[in-house]
């Protein structure tokens, strides 16, 4: 036993074993790099990304009923919803809706609090901007969703 281990030590078996591992990983097919703008990463359904305000697809009306639950649930208090009761329909309507993306930590608590599925964290993930100003999203931007800058010509 002692002898075999000595022989193995002299023959550098341990080092050769390591070399073998790195050697057989060389074929390009083993590479796991994603060439990002060309290859888009797979985003799963539950991903919490860019927020979006949904509207009713039939009527185009916003689903938001200005209940303010999301604003209350937000740990960072970055959602500000102001609404007014419309005398005609007796329903509250959105006056201003802002979402400060720069402070958001995508915990999903607002999405869970929303009682009408109006606020949703979508699968869009390309949120980087050159300035902080663009990070405060208003209702129009939230309803439009993400329009990532196209780097391709």
């Amino acid at each position: 036993m002692k002898l075999t281990s000595l022989v193995r030590k002299i023959l550098l078996v341990d080092l050769v074993k390591g070399l073998k591992v790195t050697f057989h990983y060389q074929p390009p097919s083993e590479a796991i790099t994603e060439q990002y703008p060309l290859e888009r990463p797979v985003i799963f359904e539950r991903f919490r990304g860019q927020p979006r305000l949904n509207s009713n697809p039939d009527t185009g009306e916003s689903l938001c009923i200005v209940c303010n639950l999301c604003a209350l649930a937000c740990p960072e208090q970055l959602i500000v919803v102001k609404g007014e009761r419309n005398p005609a329909t007796k329903r509250k309507e959105v006056v201003s809706w802002t979402y400060d993306l720069s402070r958001c930590m995508f915990c999903g608590l607002c999405e869970e609090a929303c009682s009408t599925d109006a606020l949703e964290l979508t699968q869009d993930y390309e949120m980087a901007l050159y300035s902080r100003e663009g990070m405060v999203l208003d209702q129009a931007a939230l309803e439009r969703g993400q329009e990532p800058e196209r780097y391709a010509k």
Binding site: D14, V21, R46, F47, A73, C74, P75, G108
Partner: protein, 381 residues
């Protein structure tokens, strides 16, 4: 920054050009292998370490103060940001502590889901540790293999709760996300694929003579020192103390599973490496058992919408990948916790650094920092 010279009691009175034997080396906060913004001031004689002092707090965000100004549910995502490589464990500890305060218990299915995710997270955390630890010692390649396999864990996290790193996976009272379709298969597939990969890491490191020489006998901590310094987790177990909160004070459904607690003999860096590698194997074992025995049923206990625990205080701790992660919560019957104290394993373990590196060489300092497996987000909170 304000200059301080009294970090180490340097004997400067008769320091001339020739007998200036002591060298003060400032390692960090910007240094490749301090795992974040740790600053270690080393007092050296040549390359031999005479003493160290850690300067921490560069990543201090006042998590405990934030907790006092948030409701119980709102604070949940913040704990993910402490030990950001093992966010799921942090969330588990916090949710359980609040549940204890509320005197509710998560339903069995939620408990199993929590166990599966926490053990996956343990694997992910240990893989980050292994990769960076090997990188510190000069082997650059294991890092990439580890991250490749960790990616599979993160994919499961993303599919399950929508985030990869700061997961916010659990809620007070259970889990909010039901296991997605194919969750069991994904976990099993990962377990099957992961074990051969683990053998591969071992081929690269365990038997390698350079790895052995760099880690064996380096940074020895004996059990008495470990206990006196409050060191927990794999570091304690590598010193031969068979103590794991999952067995000692089982929480969640850990008592249902059959697994071993690996311990070391010498308490050196090599033993800590072996203990963590074995822990990954045991985690795979737990995941397999939990996936097979995943019960049906609700995943959320009855918890009021507005969480208002009775007046009281609770200390609850879990076995995080780094050690004992405890939450001490004082409630004054309002919606916000009166005081949340986090007992971070990295912070306490880091204290052992000085004892471990005295008399070693500079190269060992990085090996020891690596083997302590600290995350500065947790040290500084």
């Amino acid at each position: 920054m304000s200059e301080r010279t009294d970090y180490l009691d340097l004997d400067t009175k008769d320091e001339t050009f020739l007998d200036a034997t002591e060298l003060v080396l400032n390692m960090g906060p910007q240094h490749p292998s301090t795992h974040g913004v740790l600053r270690v001031i080393l007092k050296l004689d040549g390359e031999k370490v005479l003493g160290t002092e850690c300067v921490i707090g560069y990543l201090h965000r006042g998590v405990e103060k934030i907790a006092e100004n948030r409701t119980y549910a709102m604070f949940n995502p913040y704990v993910d940001r402490m030990d950001y490589v093992a966010a799921v464990s942090n969330g588990l500890g916090y949710c359980e502590a609040v549940e204890k305060l509320l005197n509710v218990e998560a339903p069995p299915r939620a408990q199993y889901l929590r166990v599966i995710l926490t053990e996956l997270c343990r694997i992910a955390s240990h893989q980050v540790w292994l990769g960076t630890h090997a990188l510190d010692i000069g082997a650059i390649t294991p890092l990439f293999y580890c991250f490749r396999d960790r990616e599979e864990v993160l994919k499961i996290f993303e599919k399950y709760c929508g985030a990869r790193l700061t997961t916010h996976a659990f809620r007070i009272g259970g889990c909010i996300y039901e296991a997605y379709e194919g969750f069991e298969q994904d976990c099993k597939k990962f377990c099957d694929a992961f074990l051969p990969k683990l053998d591969e890491y071992e081929e690269l490191l365990t038997t390698n003579r350079i790895w052995g020489e760099r880690t064996k006998g380096v940074g020895i901590l004996n059990p008495e020192d470990c206990i006196a310094l409050g060191v927990t987790g794999p570091v304690l177990r590598a010193s031969g103390v068979k103590w794991d909160l999952r067995k000692a004070q089982p929480y969640e459904s850990y008592k249902d599973f059959d697994f071993e607690i690996p311990t070391g003999l010498n308490g050196d860096t090599y033993d800590r490496y072996l203990v963590r590698i074995e822990e990954m194997r045991q985690a795979v074992r737990i995941i397999r058992q939990a996936v097979d025995g995943l019960p049906q049923g609700p995943i959320m206990a009855k918890v009021p919408k507005v969480i208002k625990p009775p007046v009281g205080e609770v200390y609850h701790s879990i076995e995080a990948p780094k050690g004992e992660l405890g939450y001490f919560i004082v409630s004054d019957a309002s919606t916000q916790p009166y005081r949340v104290r986090v007992r971070p394993p990295s912070f306490v373990n880091l204290q052992a650094l000085d004892k471990m590196v005295r008399g070693l060489l500079v190269a060992d300092v990085v090996a020891v920092i690596g083997t302590l497996d600290i995350v500065l987000g947790e040290v500084d909170r």
